[in-house]
Structures are given as C-alpha cells and as structure tokens.
Amino acid sequence: MTAPGLSGRHSIYTGRVTNWPAVTLSAVLLLPLLALGGGSNQNWRDLALILVCVAGVAMYAVTGSSLRIMAGPNGVSLHSGILPWPRHTYHPDRIQRAEVIDLHPLFVTFGFWWTPRRTSYTLRSGPTLRLLLTNGRTVTLTTPHPHAAASAINDAKPSTRG
C-alpha cells in the first residue's frame, strides 16, 4: 500500500554500525562496579555512589552501543542504541548537501560528540558521511557505505525541493 499522491522511484539508504569500543568499555567498567556493590561491608553512601555509576555506565551502553542511519527523500534519521531514544531526524530542508570525507584517525570520536559547530558519531577513520546543514553545522557519521548514503541524500534533493 502506497501513501496517497506518490509516484515514481523512491530510493533510500539504511546502515547500521555497532560501537564495539562502547560495548567493551561498558562491560569492563560494569563488572568491577557490580563486584564493589555486592560487597557486604558497604555503607549506604558508597552503595548509592556505586548505583549511580552503574546506572550511568548502563545508560551509556544502552544508548551508545550502535548507530542506525536511514537517509532518503524524507531526510536523515539517526537512531542510537537499542531503546526508542535517543533518535534525531534532519529534515531535507535542513540539509544543504551530503558528502563523503576521509576521516583522519585523530578525529574519530568513538561515540556521540557535540560542539556548537559540529555533531559527530564516528567509530573509525576512513570514508565517512558528512552532512552540511543550512545553518552551517556539520554532522559526521560512520556508516558502512557512506557513498551510497550521500548519493541517496543528494539524489533526493531535487524531487523534495521541486
């Protein structure tokens, strides 16, 4: 069943990467924390502190363990982790263009990173998808096939903007 009023070819890209550094780091941090929390001679302040740390690490693992990208005429949707949140959509009107850059190893963020000028979710160096937004911000994303993703976004622009 098609949405009313639609015709012609509709092309999108989907890609998923697993953040193995986040998964490994979370496991390495959680094990000693749980061992500490299981100790019988803890006072309530230590236990509360350990619980907060465990919750923080668990939250990091759950929300940052993977990144799923969906790009096409309806914009670019990012979905991080295994829960319904966090997710974000960049509408086509906000995207000036998409390109593939060769990311230097020094600029890999190994997870989500935000500054006033750029957003980044990169896990490895090499070919990486970069979105240039109309407000001047850049969004850099690791995805398995960045050229296909950039092509899906750029190809969709004429039809979405008339």
């Binding site: 015709s7 012609g8 070819r9 509709h10 092309s11 989907t14 309806n74 899906a152």
Partner: protein, 115 residues
C-alpha cells in the same frame, strides 16, 4: 544498503521490497545475522505502509532468507545467503537471455548442455 521502490510500477511494493533484500544479500551488503530496519521506520522512509514491509519480511521468512526473533526484529539467516545469490544470478541470466531473444526452452537447453 540501498532500497529502491517504484510507486508507479505494476509490480507490488511488497515484491519490490523483498527484491531489495535479496539483492542486498546477494551483493554482500546484508550479511548473515544482520538485523533489518524495523518495519515501521522503513515504511515511513519508503513512504509505504508498515504492513507492506511486514508482508515482504514474512515472504522472505517463508523462503528461509530471514528469521524473526522476539524483541530483535528480522535477521538474515545463514541458510538464505547462498540461495539468494543463486536466485539473483538466475534472475540476471534470465534477463540477459530475454534481451538476446532466447526463450525459456532455449535457456533450459543451454543450462542442460553446460551442466
């Protein structure tokens, strides 16, 4: 992975989506154990109803290409990968044969001679 559907085509959208997955498996873009996008999200992105996506997923599950796991969505099976590449190659062969004016009988005879 690239998904392309033609809303003005006579071919049902369900079959077009299933074809995208078959091509993805055949080309190696989709590997064994890889999770497919949730039907609702893919439906929105492709501007089709989520039930159309689900129907395509079910079709491929019945063919053995996908498996459904509760809470983990649809995944590519190990049994489906080689089968899908053969199917894809067969489709390409049929298309090429048709373009060269060879019919079904001619193609079957050619395969029998070669095997």
């Amino acid at each position: 992975m690239r998904w392309t559907v033609d809303h003005s085509s006579q071919e049902p959208l369900q079959h077009q989506i299933a074809g995208c997955i078959r091509r993805g498996v055949a080309s190696g873009e989709l590997t064994t154990g890889e999770q497919l996008p949730p039907s609702a999200e893919l439906g929105v992105a492709l501007s089709v109803d989520r039930n159309t996506v689900l129907a395509a997923y079910r079709q491929l599950r019945d063919e053995g290409l996908l498996e459904f796991r509760r809470g983990r969505g649809a995944r590519v099976t190990s049994a489906g990968a080689p089968l899908a590449s053969v199917t894809e190659a067969a489709h390409a062969l049929i298309d090429t044969a048709r373009a060269q004016g060879l019919g079904r009988t001619d193609l079957i005879r050619l395969i029998e001679e070669l095997t």
